[in-house]
């Protein structure tokens, strides 16, 4: 089997096709592990991982923490809330202080795009990007693509739609990179104000017509309106957004086929997706959550295998 090409996971852009397939192969083994009566393996028992969250997170943080615990790693959790960052300490100083406690891998979420790359160049540890501003969220894209393949076997040549707030979504950018590398046809759809101007340069189709796009696709990944990143009004009201771009049973029934529904969470029920759709048999939202742990275990396993015994 080919080796993993990087000592960090900063984004999907830097990964090769072989890297992605390797992650998926290992993840499928871990998926079996986390469905055993005893879900823990001792593989990373001599590895210490720091989870550094400079931005709010629930599911990604829990998913990483569970993945690390299932691998028997030692864990340090850091949240910027109430930390010395508020006393003026720089990011590198904060992280280096944590690394002085002999940390092997850091998992970092930060509001600034490029924060993970910056850390990888300035500290002596493997870095996993758990979301850097509106740039990339590689583990989410990997678990999304893994979940698609698990359900429809092959992603190559399939039509995948990213629907919603593309402009502010790091999930969208990482998904585009990952889906394109795996050979999917990708379309983005949303209000014109929430679609970045030159996004078609990434090789994706652009549409503002939700119904036409849903008819085109095999799988739709519904993205949340990132209100926390919007300092301007990009659409008149949530109600209007829900009417034009919300996925509901009525619009799904009007399609000429059954499509797969995904959502990276957190869900704003009644805005981008209704409860009936989110909880329907077409939805694989909970599969995404379970697969998230397996995919993160695979990534940590691959990165840790590159840290040699000193």
């Amino acid at each position: 089997m080919k080796d993993f090409s990087s000592t960090h996971l900063l984004g999907i852009k830097n990964l090769s096709y072989d890297d992605i397939i390797l992650i998926f192969n290992i993840a499928s083994r871990f998926k079996e592990v986390i469905n055993r009566p005893i879900k823990k393996v001792p593989t990373l028992r001599d590895i210490t991982i720091a989870n550094l969250f400079f931005e709010n997170s629930t599911r990604t943080k829990l998913s990483f923490e569970l993945a690390e615990k299932r691998l028997s790693a030692e864990i340090l959790n850091f949240s910027s809330l109430g930390s010395s960052l508020s006393k003026g300490e720089s990011l590198v100083d904060t992280v280096n202080n944590i690394l002085a406690m002999k940390v092997d891998i850091i998992v970092v979420r930060h509001p600034d795009p490029g924060a993970a790359l910056f850390l990888s160049k300035n500290i002596n540890a493997s870095v996993v990007n758990a979301g850097d501003g509106s740039h990339e969220h590689p583990t989410q894209a990997l678990l999304d693509c893994y979940s698609i393949i698990e359900r429809i076997n092959n992603i190559k040549g399939k039509n995948i739609l990213l629907l919603g707030d593309i402009k502010h979504s790091r999930v969208a950018l990482s998904n585009i990179f990952c889906l394109k590398k795996l050979g999917a046809n990708v379309r983005v759809c949303g209000p014109p104000t929430l679609i970045p101007k030159n996004i078609s340069d990434l090789g994706v189709e652009v549409s503002f017509d939700m119904k036409d796009s849903l008819n085109w696709c095999d799988v739709v990944n519904v993205l949340r309106i990132q209100l926390e990143r919007q300092n301007l009004k990009f659409f008149p009201s949530l109600r209007e957004y829900a009417m034009l771009y919300g996925v509901n049973n009525e619009v799904l029934r009007s399609l000429n086929k059954e499509i797969l529904i995904m959502h990276p969470g957190p869900i704003n029920r009644g805005v981008e997706i209704t409860s009936e759709v989110a909880d329907s048999h077409q939805s694989i939202i909970l599969d995404q959550v379970e697969n998230g742990v397996a995919v993160r275990m695979a990534i940590l396993y691959l990165l840790a295998s590159k840290i040699k015994i000193s």
Binding site: M1, D3, F4, I26, R29, E32, V33, R36, P37, I38, K39, K40, V41, P42, T43, D46, Y301, L302, A304, S305, I307, K308, I309
Partner: protein, 174 residues
Amino acid sequence: MNNKVILNSKQISIIIDRLCYQLIETHSDFSNTILIGLQPRGVFLANQIVSRLADITNYNIKYGELDTTFFRDDFRRKKGILTPNETNIDFNIENLDIVLIDDVLYTGRTIRSALDAIGSFGRARSIELLTLINRRFSRQIPIEPKYIGKSIDVFEAEYVVVNWGVENNVILNN
């Protein structure tokens, strides 16, 4: 490199027959027994044993495949990644008798990791080990098989290869 045939296809077939009858002697109707082939190469031997047991008995033999990669003790100590194989154990092993099956027993470290790995599926009543080739005097861990195809004494630098194909054989490379 010199290759020496230790066992040919006919000899392997006779040994597998004997191992099957030894298993029947201990496990009678196999109602409380699960045979587990160890990935990757123990699975070939396990398949042969399960198939032969089906020929000579009408018992329902429970059979699974176990990968021990995540329980190995040489993670980060080898070049490249340790590649896991598939594990297929679809039953609860609680209070059942397990027979681990591998092709060659050498240092005993794989079996040590298998003992840990099988614990993920519950608490077995007993665990036994069956091996086609037992390399004597080379154990690094106090593990010994209960069912042995053939015991051999070879130098550390020599390599034992079990080939499963149209012609089964066991080769000693030195």
